[in-house]
C-alpha cells in the first residue's frame, strides 16, 4: 500500500530514521552530511539519527526507538546479521520500511534471516560494498609493489566489514602464494587498534617490533584514526620509505602522501552508500516501490580506488570539497525505479562525478 505505516510526522513530513554506529566520527559525519543534503533537497523529509556504536543490544534498541519516534522508514548499519532478525521483526510489527547500508545479510551464512528479509513486506534491501573484493584489490597493490611481509591492523574483532576485508586480504595472499611458490608473501595475525590513533600507532609499533622485516601495513579501517596512528608510528620509526601502507580510510593530506610514498593506495567514496538506502526507503514510503514482499534488493556499490596523486586531485575536488551529487540530481534520483537506482549506484566513479559536474 501507499504511504507506509507508522504515524506520519506531525507536520505531514516523511520521517526517516538512521541507525548508525556514529553520526559524529569521520565517516559517520560524511554519511550524515549527504543524507541531510538529500533530505533538504527533497524538502518533505525529516531525518532522525540514533548512534548505536555497533553494540548489538543498542542496534536493536535503536530500531525500536526510531519506530517509537514515529519514523516510517529506517536505514540501518548493523553489526551482525542476527540483529536484523529483531530489526525486521520490529519493522514488520510497526509497518516501517527498512533498508541496510554498508551491510548485507549473508545468504550463505544465515539463510533463515535472509529468508525473513525476503518475506518481509517492509524489508527492502541492502546497499553494500564488495568488501572481499576491496581487500583483494588493496592487497594486490602491495603485492605488485613487491611487499611480502605484510602487517594487518583491524579495528574491532568480529566487525562484519572488517571480516569481509580480511577475507579479501587473505584470498589475495593465498592466490599469490599459489602462483609464486618461491616468492611467498606472509600476512600477520591482525592487531586490533580500536578506533583511536594511539591504538593504530601502538599496533603498528608492535607489528614492526615483532617483525623487523615488515615491509607493508594495512590499517584496514576504523574511521581513519588508526591509519593516522599507524602512519605516525612508521614515521617515528623512520621507515616511511621501506613500509608501504594501504587503507580504506581517507586522509586529509592523502595527495601529499601518495606523492611522497608514505601511502601506497586507498579506496573510498563509500560514504554515498547510505544515500541509496535512504532513497530506497523514501520511495517505498511514497508508495513508489510495491514489490517489496518476496523481494530482496541487493545493491552493490563500487569502491573508488586512488593510488596516485593525480587520482586524488579529482577525488578531492568531487568528493571532498563538494558532494558528488547536486541537489537537482538528488531530486532526480528520488524518482528513479529500483533498478535505475541500482544502476545509478554502480555507475558512481570519480570520472562519473567529474563528468556530471562538468555539464
Amino acid at each position: 500500500g501507499s504511504a507506509g505505516g507508522g504515524t506520519a510526522a506531525s507536520d505531514g513530513k516523511i520521517k526517516i530514521g538512521v541507525s548508525i554506529w556514529s553520526s559524529t566520527d569521520v565517516l559517520g559525519s560524511q554519511c550524515k552530511t549527504i543524507i541531510d543534503e538529500a533530505a533538504a533537497a527533497l524538502g518533505d523529509v525529516e531525518v532522525q539519527y540514533v548512534d548505536q556504536g555497533h553494540v548489538s543490544e543498542k542496534v536493536t534498541a535503536s530500531v525500536e526507538q526510531l519506530c517509537a519516534a514515529g519514523c516510517q522508514g529506517v536505514i540501518i548499519c548493523n553489526s551482525s546479521d542476527t540483529e536484523m532478525t529483531s530489526a525486521i521483526k520490529t519493522c514488520n510489527d510497526n509497518k516501517v520500511y527498512l533498508s541496510q547500508f554498508f551491510r548485507i545479510i549473508s545468504e550463505d551464512d544465515n539463510p533463515d534471516i535472509y529468508q525473513a528479509a525476503v518475506d518481509s513486506p517492509y524489508y527492502i534491501g541492502a546497499v553494500h560494498e564488495n568488501e572481499p573484493e576491496n581487500g583483494e584489490k588493496l592487497m594486490n597493490i602491495l603485492l605488485e609493489k613487491g611487499d611480502r611481509d605484510i602487517g594487518l591492523i583491524g579495528w574491532e574483532q568480529g566487525d562484519a566489514t572488517w571480516l569481509g576485508r580480511w577475507e579479501g586480504y587473505q584470498k589475495a595472499v593465498d592466490d599469490w602464494n599459489k602462483e609464486h611458490p618461491d616468492d611467498k608473501a606472509t600476512l600477520s595475525e591482525p592487531q586490533y587498534a580500536g578506533t583511536s590513533s594511539e591504538g593504530g600507532s601502538r599496533a603498528a609499533e608492535a607489528l614492526m617490533s615483532a617483525d623487523p622485516n615488515l615491509d607493508a601495513l594495512i590499517p584496514a579501517g576504523g574511521g581513519g584514526d588508526p591509519l593516522q596512528g599507524a602512519i605516525a608510528a612508521v614515521e617515528r620509526a623512520g621507515k616511511t620509505d621501506s613500509i608501504d601502507i594501504v587503507s580504506t580510510d581517507f586522509l586529509p593530506d592523502l595527495g601529499e602522501r601518495l606523492e611522497n610514498g608514505s601511502m601506497a593506495g586507498e579506496s573510498g567514496g563509500h560514504y554515498c552508500d547510505p544515500l541509496f538506502s535512504f532513497m530506497m526507503v523514501y520511495n517505498a514510503i511514497k508508495g513508489n516501490y510495491t514489490d517489496i514482499e518476496g523481494n530482496f534488493v541487493d545493491m552493490n556499490f563500487p569502491y573508488l580506488y586512488v593510488s596516485s596523486a593525480e587520482d586524488y586531485k579529482d577525488y578531492e575536488k568531487y568528493f571532498v570539497d563538494q558532494l558528488p551529487y547536486t541537489d537537482d540530481e538528488l531530486v532526480e534520483m528520488s524518482k528513479l525505479s529500483i533498478d535505475d537506482l541500482a544502476t545509478k549506484a554502480s555507475e558512481l566513479s570519480i570520472e562519473d562525478a567529474a563528468a556530471r559536474a562538468g555539464q
Binding site: S56, Q65, A69
Partner: protein, 320 residues
C-alpha cells in the same frame, strides 16, 4: 519536662519521617512527571509505543537487581557488562542444543564470573571496584577473542521466544522473587546490615563473608539470566556485547534514589523506578530527534539535574 522533650522529639521524628517519605516517593513522582512530559513532547508516542519503549528495560531491570543487592552491602560491580557479554555467548552456543540448557548455561557462566569477583573481593580482600574493573577488562578480552572471526550467533529458534509476554513475565517473576526475598526474609535485613556496619553485622551472627560471596555469585547469575532476555532479542553477540551495562545500571539505581554506599536506607523500589526512569529519559530524549551532540549535551545535563534531585544524600555523611 521530660515528657515535653519526648513529645518535641516525637514530632521532630514525624517531620523526619515525612522527609524520608517524600524522599522515597520523589523518584516515583519524578518518573510519572517525566513520563507525562515526554509523552507530551513526543506527541503521545510514548504511550502509543509503550511496548517498544519497555523493550529496552527488561535487561537493565533484571541485571540491576543483582547489582542492587551488591550495592546494598556497600560493594560495587563494574564487570556487569562483561558478565552479560560472556553469558550471552554461552546462551548462544548452547541454544543450538536446547533452550533450557542454554538458559542454565548462561546463568552458570554469570554465576562463575560472580564467584571469581567474589573470591578476590571476599577472600583476598581487594577493593570491589579494583577487582571488578580488572575482571571487566579480562572478560572483555575473552568476549573479543570469542567473537574474533564472527559474532557468536544463537540458534534461529531463539527469536520465537522474543515476545513481550515472555520478557514481561520473566522480569516480573524475578522482581517479585527478589522483592519477597529482600523485603520479607532475613536476606534483605542481612544485606542492609552488612552495608550499614559490616563488623557489627558479623558480631550479630551474620556470616558476612559467605553472604558477600554468594551475593556476588547471585548477581552474576541474575545477569546471566538477563543474557537470555538479551539474546532472544539480539540473536548474537559481537565483541562489544554488553558494553557499558554497568554504567547504565549505576545511573539507573542512583536515579532511583539508591544511596551508592548501600546500607539501611535502600529500598527495593529503587530498582524499578530507577531503570524505568533511565529508559524513559533515554528513549524520550532520543525520540525527540535531536542531533547526537545535542542529545548528549541535554542528556548529560538532564542526568545531572535528576541525580541531583533524586540522589539520597541525607543518609550519607561522606560522599565519595
Amino acid at each position: 519536662m521530660e515528657k515535653v522533650k519526648a513529645m518535641a522529639l516525637e514530632s521532630g521524628m514525624k517531620k523526619e519521617n515525612m522527609m524520608s517519605m517524600i524522599r522515597a516517593i520523589l523518584p516515583v513522582v519524578g518518573l510519572v512527571l517525566v513520563f507525562l512530559l515526554f509523552n507530551t513532547l513526543t506527541g503521545g508516542r510514548m504511550t502509543m509505543n509503550m511496548s517498544l519503549v519497555l523493550s529496552q528495560v527488561y535487561v537493565i531491570m533484571i541485571a540491576s537487581m543483582g547489582v542492587f543487592f551488591i550495592m546494598t552491602m556497600g560493594g560495587l560491580d563494574f564487570s556487569q557488562g562483561s558478565i552479560l557479554g560472556i553469558s550471552s555467548i554461552v546462551v548462544c552456543y548452547l541454544s543450538q542444543y536446547d533452550i533450557l540448557i542454554a538458559i542454565l548455561g548462561g546463568i552458570a557462566a554469570g554465576a562463575l564470573i560472580g564467584m571469581i569477583n567474589a573470591y578476590f573481593y571476599v577472600y583476598r580482600k581487594i577493593k570491589s571496584f579494583i577487582v571488578t574493573i580488572c575482571t571487566m577488562f579480562l572478560f572483555r578480552g575473552f568476549i573479543k577473542y570469542l567473537t574474533t572471526n564472527a559474532p557468536v550467533s544463537g540458534s534461529a529458534k531463539l527469536i520465537f521466544y522474543d515476545t513481550t509476554a515472555l520478557k514481561l513475565t520473566c522480569t516480573l517473576i524475578i522482581l517479585v522473587v527478589g522483592f519477597v526475598a529482600f523485603r520479607y526474609t532475613r536476606f534483605g535485613t542481612d544485606l542492609r546490615a552488612i552495608g550499614a556496619g559490616e563488623k557489627a553485622a558479623m558480631f550479630a551472627g551474620i556470616r558476612t563473608d559467605r553472604m558477600k560471596f554468594w551475593v556476588y555469585t547471585l548477581s552474576g547469575a541474575i545477569t546471566g539470566f538477563a543474557a537470555f532476555i538479551n539474546v532472544i532479542k539480539v540473536g548474537s553477540v559481537t565483541s562489544s556485547g554488553g558494553n557499558q551495562l554497568e554504567t547504565q545500571i549505576l545511573i539507573a539505581l542512583v536515579l532511583g534514589g539508591m544511596p551508592i554506599s548501600g546500607g539501611a536506607k535502600v529500598r527495593f523500589e529503587n530498582i524499578i523506578v530507577g531503570s524505568l526512569l533511565y529508559i524513559v529519559l533515554n528513549s524520550g530524549l532520543t525520540m525527540m530527534g535531536f542531533s547526537t551532540q545535542m542529545l548528549q549535551l541535554i542528556e548529560g545535563i538532564v542526568f545531572l539535574v535528576f541525580v541531583a534531585i533524586f540522589a539520597d544524600r541525607e543518609s550519607l555523611s561522606v560522599i565519595k
